[in-house]
């Protein structure tokens, strides 16, 4: 087993490299993905090694990126599009929701759009406006798209390859504040044996309450669980990984045991993933719940100036506060 310690960013880079190697139809495209290797260097070195027809530097136009990628997909390619920052995906929104998401349905399965839309998302990096958004609900609400997000280097490496290999159009959300976090990555395990893409995973078993998180918030949830354990409360933490379709099998099982559930995400709470998860868990675990599912989320404001983002973003304390509230209900 060839386990290496990689940052999440480097794990993505390595996964993309594998995908380019394994399938000549895979093309990467986006603003600054070539020579620069992307503003986060996730595509670093790939244009040099695979050429500028596999790793395509594009004009500055997001609708153009996604729209031409649709055409490339119809031509038989498997485009992997990089959107530079979360807040810049909206010019492409029409192409994503009306074309990417619907082409397969419209054509009764005759046209496939095996596209991956990579988006660095979320806050916590002290950035200016539009660089810290969490747009996952906009995509998860859209039938025809699948939405996944990774939380650690191993998943990053595997999931990006799985997403590229899938024929479904997938919005692949990358927790940008975790790009520099390191972890072990098994570079040799065959993809065919990997943990399935559209499955959640229990990342810390526990008994007292269930904490659901994804992407950048998994670390926060785990930290909260460590802190809670010191107080004698064992939290079960589930990394959701797939936001559409949601995989709540493990969550249902867990909540039926614990009776309490907290969902954590950075996106504003109103109409966020937490709402859907709360609604489903309440339906499924109605008689097991000791308290309503509580949501720890960004507030219902635009993402604020970075000097107050620490207070805007859910952190360990707010998670523990919610757990306390669930116990005090």
């Amino acid at each position: 087993m060839a386990t290496e310690t990689l940052t999440l960013g480097k794990a993505l880079n390595t996964g993309l490299r594998r995908a380019l190697e394994n399938d000549p139809k895979v093309v990467i495209m986006g603003e600054d993905v070539g020579k620069l290797g992307g503003v986060f260097r996730i595509t670093d070195g790939l244009q040099k090694d695979f050429g500028d027809q596999r790793v395509i530097d594009t004009p500055l136009a997001e609708s153009g990126i996604i729209g031409t990628a649709v055409g490339l997909a119809i031509r038989g390619y498997r485009p992997v599009c990089e959107i530079q920052f979360d807040g810049f995906v909206y010019p492409a929104y029409d192409q994503i929701v009306s074309q990417v998401a619907k082409m397969h349905y419209r054509s009764q399965g005759k046209v496939r759009i095996p596209m991956v839309i990579r988006i660095p998302y979320g806050g916590g990096i002290g950035a200016v406006e539009h660089h810290s958004e969490s747009p996952e609900a906009y995509f998860a609400h859209t039938a025809g798209l699948k939405v996944v997000t990774c939380a650690n280097p191993q998943d990053a490496y595997v999931m990006i390859q799985q997403a590229i290999a899938s024929d479904d159009p997938i919005v692949f959300l990358e927790p940008k504040r975790r790009y520099w976090e390191k972890g072990p990555v098994d570079l040799e395990a065959p993809l065919s044996e990997a943990y399935p893409l559209h499955s959640a995973r229990v990342v810390r078993p526990g008994t007292a309450a269930t904490v659901l998180a994804y992407g950048p918030m998994v670390r926060v949830a785990l930290d909260a669980a460590t802190a809670a354990a010191e107080d004698g409360r064992e939290l079960e933490v589930i990394d959701l990984r797939t936001l559409s379709p949601l995989d709540l099998t493990a969550a249902y099982e867990s909540v039926k045991r614990t009776g309490r559930c907290v969902v954590v995400h950075e996106a504003p709470g109103n109409l966020g993933m937490g709402s859907e998860i709360a609604a489903r868990i309440t339906e499924e675990c109605f008689y097991s719940l000791e308290a309503p599912v509580l949501r720890v989320t960004g507030f219902d404001t635009p993402y604020p100036a970075s000097r107050v983002e620490e207070e805007y973003l859910p952190d360990l304390d707010r998670v523990l506060d919610a757990v306390d509230r669930a116990f005090g209900w």
């Binding site: 136009a61 153009g64 729209g67 055409g71 997909a73 119809i74 029409d94 192409q95 009764q108 379709p245």
Partner: protein, 394 residues
């Protein structure tokens, strides 16, 4: 194409001055490429804004074929309009008046070329060999488009204005990456859109991309003078074909009611594309003779005299006049074609009336290539729910 008959000018004879003059006379626009006047006079050749000489060289058989196409697509289209009036279709977007623009460009495509239509290219669809019933499913509401884009090299209809121009550009980029340009039998791509569409960001982005990547693509704009009720002046204050220059590729305005000129201009642009010379823009200057769709009432926003003026430029009438004058066809031919059109439209009507409604449960099909467990649950619940209404529920 084989050589033309003696009565028709053939390749190589120069008639530039006459062409300019004739085109100018016909449309009041010296830059309009025209090979057949509204009165059915053949013009030997016409010069585009970049000096390209356009001409065609058809056999009698081919001329008659083009005429047949024009008549057939008009008749089938009229049948669809009638079907809508009788409640058999939810909506119909008629091509009336635009037959030449569509048949001319559609016939200029080679087998290997790929087309990206809007929702009005029934004539192009016909030229691609697709059963004309196909788009009727969409407008009847039984499906959202039934043909296989890759089989016929004719993509799905696109309703969101302009979106398909980016798809076409990406597809053409793929053609180039595949190395399928640069030779006589290279592949080219054509993107259809309207005058209204030229205002959309997507279309202009497509211009940028096609230019930067030198994509083998023909932008084919049917300027039918209206976007629903909005006249051309709401989209531009200069002729649309000039838009291309700002992006660094050639643009040409052709008489879109002239099937010969449209053919010539499109063929030339496609051949340039397939040879690796990049994109170009064709503005087919035409007129939407009918309503925008069957839901529309054009009397609210345009005057009858304008429609009448365009009536005089009818694409079929001028072709008929030409065939008659040149004795390429006679009354019996015209009668035969009308008869064929009638038969095909009756046949179309019968088949539409027999188009089954889809099973409701099929709405869960094809959301994802790989399916979704959530949807499987919804489908199962739906099935059970529907069964609860049946007398003989399981």
């Amino acid at each position: 194409m084989a050589k033309g008959d003696p009565g028709v000018p053939t390749r190589g004879r120069r008639a530039a001055p006459r062409s300019k003059q004739a085109a100018s006379a016909a449309a009041g626009d010296p830059e309009l490429v025209q090979l057949l006047t509204a009165e059915g006079e053949r013009i030997e050749s016409a010069t585009g804004p970049d000096g390209t000489e356009y001409r065609v060289d058809f056999t009698d058989e081919e001329y008659r074929g083009l005429y047949r196409d024009l008549v057939l697509v008009r008749k089938l289209d009229a049948e669809a309009t009638a079907l809508q009036r009788q409640g058999e279709l939810g909506l119909w977007a008629s091509l009336l008046g635009q037959e030449a623009a569509q048949v001319g460009s559609g016939r200029a495509l080679r087998t290997q070329d790929m087309a990206f239509p809007t929702y009005r290219e029934h004539g192009v669809l016909y030229c691609r060999g697709i059963d004309p019933i196909m788009p009727l499913g969409l407008f009847r509401g039984v499906d959202q488009g039934g043909w296989d884009p890759n089989e016929f090299k004719f993509n799905m209809y696109t309703i969101v204005i302009g979106a398909q121009t980016l798809h076409a550009t990406g597809y053409a980029m793929g053609v180039a990456i595949d190395g399928k340009t640069g030779t006589d039998d290279g592949e080219a791509v054509i993107a259809y859109f309207g005058d209204g569409a030229t205002s959309q960001g997507d279309v202009n982005e497509a211009f940028v991309w096609a230019s930067v990547f030198n994509a083998p693509l023909v932008f084919f704009c049917q300027n039918n003078q209206y976007a629903i009720s909005e006249p051309l002046e709401r989209q531009t204050r200069v002729p649309l074909y000039r838009r291309a220059g700002g992006y660094g590729f050639p643009g040409v305005r052709v008489d879109g009611n002239d099937v010969l000129a449209t053919y010539a201009v499109t063929r030339h642009a496609l051949d340039n594309a397939r040879l690796g010379q990049g994109p170009s823009l064709i503005e087919a200057y035409t007129y939407r003779m009918g309503a925008h769709t069957t839901s529309d009432d054009p009397t609210r926003y345009r005057i009858a005299s304008e429609v009448e003026a365009w009536q005089a430029k009818d694409p079929i009438a001028r072709m008929k006049a030409f065939l008659t004058k040149q004795q390429i066809a006679d009354e019996s031919f015209f009668t035969e074609i009308d008869e064929q059109a009638r038969t095909e439209s009756v046949h179309l009507r019968e088949r539409v009336l027999n188009m089954p409604n889809p099973e409701p449960v099929t709405m869960f099909d094809h959301v994802y290539p790989h399916g979704s467990p959530e949807l499987d649950v919804q489908r199962a619940q739906f099935t059970k729910y529907m069964e609860s209404f049946e007398g003989s529920a399981h």
